[in-house]
Amino acid sequence: MSVMGNTTPPPMAEGKLSRREWLLSDRPASRTQAKLGRAYVSWRRFAENRLALIGLIIILALVLVAIFADLLAPYSPTIGDLANARLLAPAWDHWLGTDDQGRDILSRLIYGSRLTLYVVVLVAVIAAPIGLLVGTVSGYAGGWVDAVLMRITDIFLAFPKLVLALALVAALGPGIENAVIAIAITSWPPYARIARAETMQVRNSDYISAVRLMGASPIRIVLRHIMPLCMSSLIVRVTLDMAGIILTAAGLGFLGLGAQPPLPEWGAMIASGRRFILDQWWVAAAPGVAILLVSLGFNLLGDGLRDALDPRSAGQ
């Protein structure tokens, strides 16, 4: 079974390799095989971690629920039966009960998953590249560029996240898009710090010097040689931050500054259930549990990714 490449080169039995052996081959025959093999090794390291797998399953479930919300939700998320179905306790008809507008809470949670994903993905897509760019440029250029960029980062870091988001939403007007912008603007500085620290570690290494000696421009070095090295720690950090992003979005929703009614945003749902929390606990509890589960999922996933992607534990 051990048809690994450390046997001498010529008598390699071509052909009948299992898929696993093909992926783990010591001498890949093409660029794709090399890439897939590397991905497979990372996946195996990730899959060894049970909790990380649970996290991944939670997040995949969230994505599937969001995609198939139309099929999964038994009722409309926005139109309820005010006459007959107000504040019903969980039962066979309404698995998670109904809220004060007679709307099915399960359906609202299912549609709310779209909003949660929307916020999380948009924030990640806006904040991570800004942080990566600022951090790598600042770390590689050094000197006054570094000083200016890092002082700007410090200014953003000095504000409490939720307060700055509140100020921005207050200025831009409430709504889920503005909440996304506000959260994105407040969450890039830590990414810039991480990217800068990683860049400083590698900027004087021989392999970056070697690329400079090839005549590569600084832009090329940053984009093609330094950024890929910062990616794994950044991905880990962003994944771990996802829980915080969801909580901030929910917090803004709770304060009435995020998604506006009748959008089934989880934070806003908790806010509206607050009034009945003693008598009809399920109205606030259901979205609360949903936020808890998804945050937990992202945290577990992030921990698993850290173990799988961390370049230091992966060896050179």
Partner: protein, 257 residues
């Protein structure tokens, strides 16, 4: 062309000074290296030999003096033409290859930067030249041994077809048997391609074997310049060089016993 090349040195350094913050790492070093010559730089750790090499490559902060390649003085910023003419092999093969790039990508990068076409065949040829088959082409550095990595580093330096190769202790991180292989490979390449070598080493045996002439350095300055023949016949005047030679002999004797 040949006559002119013989008269102007391939690499000429005049009163070169390098200062890191307050520390003067090079204190006015001068040397001339003829085309196709193999020149050695020897000295103990911290003598400035690697710094001299890095200064020529543009990797150290030059604070004074001049560097001339084929009669043309280099400015503060090196241009692309310079990097096609001068290439370098680093000391530590474990640190000089990007950990996330396959051998293929490592060798393709210089071709992309210089806009050289015909990449496929050049990469295969470069791998063949350093004695690695195309079977190594899509491996990552962590799948290679130290000697194989150093061969990849040599292939990467040679792929843009430079005329001057700077070697910063290219074998000191390798074990003895691999060392000899890599040195023979370098010797072979120098003959085939008519390259000019500048080689840093603390190992006098390696330098006498590889180089025509050498400069002994101490404390950021020149002690003396010798030919290999002079070193072999012990025609040395400076105490420092005698001590260095004695130290390296003591080392080899103990090793062979």
């Amino acid at each position: 062309m040949m006559i002119e090349a013989a008269s102007t040195p391939a690499l000429s350094v005049r009163d070169l000074e390098v200062t890191y913050d307050q520390f003067r790492a090079l204190k006015g070093v001068s040397l001339d290296i003829a085309p196709r010559e193999s020149f050695g730089l020897v000295g103990e750790s911290g003598s400035g030999k690697s710094t001299l090499l890095r200064a020529v490559a543009g990797l150290a902060p030059v604070s004074g003096g001049a560097i001339t390649i084929d009669g043309k003085q280099l400015g503060r910023r090196r241009d692309k033409a310079f990097y096609r003419r001068v290439q370098m092999v680093f000391q530590d093969p474990y640190g000089s290859l990007h950990p996330r790039h396959t051998v293929d990508r490592l060798l393709r990068e210089p071709l992309d930067i210089h806009g050289v076409g015909d990449g496929e065949s050049r990469i295969n040829r470069a791998l063949d030249e350093v004695g690695l088959g195309s079977g190594f082409r899509f491996r990552y550095p962590h799948q290679l041994s130290g000697g194989q990595r150093q061969r990849v580093a040599i292939a990467r330096a040679l792929i843009v077809e430079p005329s001057i190769l700077l070697l910063d202790e290219p074998t000191s991180a390798l074990d003895a048997s691999v060392q000899a292989e890599v040195l023979n490979l370098l010797e072979q390449i120098r003959r085939d391609r008519a390259l000019t070598f500048v080689m840093v080493s603390h190992d006098l045996a390696v330098v006498t074997h590889m180089c025509d002439r050498l400069m002994v350095m101490q404390d950021g300055a020149e002690v003396e310049q010798l030919t290999s023949a002079e070193l072999a016949e012990r025609r040395i005047t400076k105490d420092y060089t005698i001590n260095l030679l004695r130290a390296s002999e003591g080392f080899t004797r103990r090793q062979s016993a």
